[in-house]
């Protein structure tokens, strides 16, 4: 099973860059790495997805080293509204019957 490990919690301040690292040692060749954000009383929301190297969108960047055994979500210049739980998910390719495993996530607190 593609299990992930990430810090339980992190603290930051407004305007700082936040990097959350996720470990996924048994990632398979065709697995993708996906990050979701969840606010209290809401369902998770997709942030970014990647396979290797670097992916960037308007919200975040995702860095994946060559061995793909870890990944880092980078949030530039966080604000109070970025306070949420962030989940790292290894997603099997379509047709593979491996389970989707969600960990505990990283609870990010952004302070003023």
């Amino acid at each position: 099973l593609a299990k992930t490990t990430q810090p339980i919690s992190m603290d930051s301040y407004e305007g700082q860059e936040v990097n959350i690292t996720c470990s996924h040692n048994n990632i398979a060749t065709n697995d993708y790495i996906t990050w979701y954000q969840q606010f209290p009383s809401q369902g998770p929301r997709f942030i970014i997805q990647g396979y290797k190297t670097k992916v960037t969108n308007e919200v975040a960047s995702l860095f994946i080293p060559a061995d793909r055994k870890s990944s880092t979500l980078s949030l530039p210049r966080v604000s109070l509204s970025d306070t949420a739980v962030y989940y790292c998910l290894v997603v099997p390719w379509a047709g593979n019957n491996r389970k989707l495993i969600w960990g505990l996530g990283t609870s990010l607190a952004v302070n003023p």
């Binding site: 009383s41 998770p44 593979n96 969600w102």
Partner: protein, 115 residues
């Protein structure tokens, strides 16, 4: 574009009673998921549908939980009889075109309290 709709948003029942949750996915999304999220934990996949068919229900407690997806659109998740440990948020999600690689869109969830 309308999002994933779920109802009810909140439900309080006594143990041994039954309850049903409804989900309407985003139009055209072939894959539908039901998750259970206990406070402080990540979502746990209960069942995954691909159109009308079940792809994965290995973590669904089949002695008390059941789910169906009629005509490959709406879905209903039922619990009968409920136990105290079923207190959780039940999330519905959908994705397109298929499989777990692509983005899942989540509904607001139904918060179930079993007393």
């Amino acid at each position: 574009e309308a999002g994933v709709a779920q109802s009810p948003r909140y439900k309080i029942i006594e143990k041994r009673q039954s309850v049903a949750f409804w989900c309407n996915p985003i139009s055209g999304h072939a894959t539908l998921y039901w998750y259970q999220q206990i406070l402080g934990q990540g979502p746990k996949l209960l069942i995954q549908f691909q159109n009308n068919g079940v792809v994965d229900d290995s973590q669904l407690p089949k002695d008390r939980f059941s789910a169906e997806r009629l005509k490959g659109v709406d879905s209903t998740l039922k619990i009968q009889p409920a136990k105290l440990e079923d207190s959780a948020v039940y999330l519905c999600a959908s994705s397109f075109p298929e499989g777990g690689r692509y983005e899942q869109y989540f509904g607001p969830g139904t918060r179930l309290t079993v007393t």
